[in-house]
């Protein structure tokens, strides 16, 4: 009997699980720090100030996301693709990047864009339907958003091959590339071919799959029997599953993977186990295909709240700090609104 049991499938794949035994987590949903002999060393520099900074990143990005969503509802944007719930995955991964690293996003990586210093104004052109890509991808080292599912994975593999051909890989100063795609994307031939190429050319490429449990209306069972990080096993490079709502774990695991890549041990696959808390896009209606229970369960694992809890509990931030960030977020939102309206 080769097939996993339905129970196994569901335990491995589904939203309401904790992501399984293999999940790397450094911060629990309650904001408690979990020791990790393997990954702690990748976040030794994350002191109070730096954690507050990650908190700020996530808060501003979420605020941007909510503002854009509202602007779409008011007819100021043609469409919006929310990242709500995926802030930790994107900020963790984005902040793990060094300036010379390159990133290839899909279309939901507003948090990574933020880390690459792409201005929200430049980013919004796509969603205002006034351009197809508003930033300078070469200067930002952040490729244009790619909408055709999977395409960017091959483009990223090629770029990473180029980093190696240029001799910029092999030691701690090496370069690496990161490529973002979703759970649904793993079914596309291009993603497979990206795995094949990167493996064969030892490309310094981190495949960063945000498993947000849904490809529009389709749950992950429509794409795979096994947890997605296990896909890497068949290609001969490591796959790892990280709690995608844990910014510290995402930062640590991505730094580890990028380091492996820059020193010549790429590629690597990271599955960030997270949840799309809003609709697929503003044109989507998730009530048609999922129960609100699921959302409620995930609200308890909110990526921002657990950092707030940790900061508070450990006296690393006081109320003033949180108010200050809230005010900054308000101003930020106002700026974006002014720009659009």
């Amino acid at each position: 009997a080769a097939k996993p049991t339905p129970e196994q499938v569901i335990a491995g794949l589904r939203a309401t699980s904790e992501g399984g035994a293999d999940l790397v987590q450094l911060l629990t949903p309650e904001g408690e720090r979990v020791d990790s002999p393997e990954f702690d060393r990748y976040v030794t520099d994350i002191d109070g100030a730096r954690l507050r900074s990650l908190f700020r990143d996530m808060t501003l990005v979420r605020r941007f996301d909510r503002e854009a969503n509202a602007l779409q509802r008011q007819g100021q944007l043609g469409i919006w693709v929310p990242l709500l719930g995926q802030e930790a995955a994107q900020i963790g991964a984005g902040r793990a990047l060094r300036p010379m690293d390159m990133a290839f996003p899909s279309y939901r990586e507003h948090g990574v864009a933020w880390c690459r210093n792409v201005s929200p104004q430049d980013l919004l052109g796509i969603f205002r339907c006034s351009d197809h890509s508003g930033w300078d991808p070469v200067a930002a080292r952040f490729h244009p958003y790619t909408i055709v599912i999977g395409n960017q994975v091959l483009n990223a593999a090629g770029y990473a091959m180029g980093q190696r051909f240029d001799g910029h890989v092999g030691d701690d100063d090496g370069e690496a590339t990161i490529c973002f795609f979703g759970d649904g994307a793993t079914s596309q031939g291009d993603v497979h071919e990206g795995f094949v190429w990167a493996a064969v050319y030892d490309a310094p490429l981190v495949f960063f799959c945000q498993n947000n449990q849904w490809a529009i209306s389709e749950p992950t069972e429509r794409q795979s029997r096994l947890p997605l990080y296990q896909r890497a096993q068949g290609y001969g490079f490591p796959g790892i599953r990280v709690d995608g709502n844990d910014v510290l774990a995402c930062l640590a695991v991505t730094r580890w993977a990028l380091d492996e890549c820059r020193t010549g041990n790429g590629p690597m696959l990271i599955e960030a186990f997270t949840y799309r808390m809003d609709a697929h896009t503003t044109t989507d209606d998730p009530t048609r295909y999922r129960l609100s229970d699921e959302l409620e369960a995930w609200k308890l694992k909110d990526p921002i709240e657990r950092v707030r809890a940790y900061l508070s509990r450990n006296g690393l931030a006081d109320n003033d700090f949180f108010e200050e960030i809230a005010a900054e977020a308000d101003n930020f939102a106002a700026e974006i609104r002014d720009f659009c309206v």
């Binding site: 043609g78 796509i126 339907c129 909408i147 079914s187 596309q188 031939g189 389709e218 048609r288």
Partner: protein
Amino acid sequence: APQLTIGKALNHALRAAMEADPKVLIMGEDVGKLGGVFRITDGLQKDFGEHRVLDTPLAESGIIGTAIGLAVRGFRPVCEIQFDGFVFPGFDQIVSQLAKLHFRSQGKVKVPIVVRIPFGGGIGAVEHHSESPESLFSHTAGLRLVSCSNPVDAYWMLQQAIRCDDPVLFFEPKKLYHTGSLKETVDPTASPDPLFASRVLRSGTAATLVTYGPSVRVCLDAAIAAAEEGTSLEVIDLRTLSPLDLEPVFESVRKTGRLIAVSEAPSESSLTSEIAARVQQECFYSLEAPVLRVTGFDTPYPPTKLEEYYLPDLDRVLHTVDRALTW
């Protein structure tokens, strides 16, 4: 008989086809509970089950490629491609297998598959969601292509396409799916026109407009506007894009002496090129002006803030009619 939009008519057609033949399957991304991003398959999974309405993995080559295997097994899959721009990952299976299996096997293998493709612009979408790739397929021998422009045709043509033993690419004018003003009474007891035939929608004498899909409305509106200024335009809806049924167009041009072909697709090496090429040959001595074309531009589809300048509209059509009349 109900009053239906094009979208609803397609939904009714799918239901009718599934009721009539248990071998009819629906496959695609989000076609199940969601009913497709345009709701064309709304309610079908609920009523026919998950084995007849398949939410497939996210890969278009996979959708077409497995549909072919299912067809070889005796099923009649109706595949939904979510948007025009996403047909390309499935292009190889369409061109190398779908179009060729019947020919390759000397007729022994049939692949009665319908690939539904919502196409064209005008919905204010982001990149890849507004393309008109039909000419790529009309250049590909071995495929049949049709496009509907109104609810009655939508209802009948889709059912006829599903009954056809050849592969049919079915191009749906997505911007008209839910246009209430286009609602028509669809009588399921009526007898439909043949699938692979053009239709003269409006007769006229000064010039002929030939088009298909979303541009049919534009041309009809142009004809109405022209009539107000005393110019009588004939309007032909191609309906079948491959094989083309150009006899009615030839006949019309022999009468009017002038033809304007209208399409949202870029003009280069396109269906409108083909129409011009064929008409100038068949109606050479009847042409008072060259065949003119009103099309999208030969650029990638622009950001949709600009699409009104890209898509053929009433003004461009009428302006081109004027050019033809004063050539």
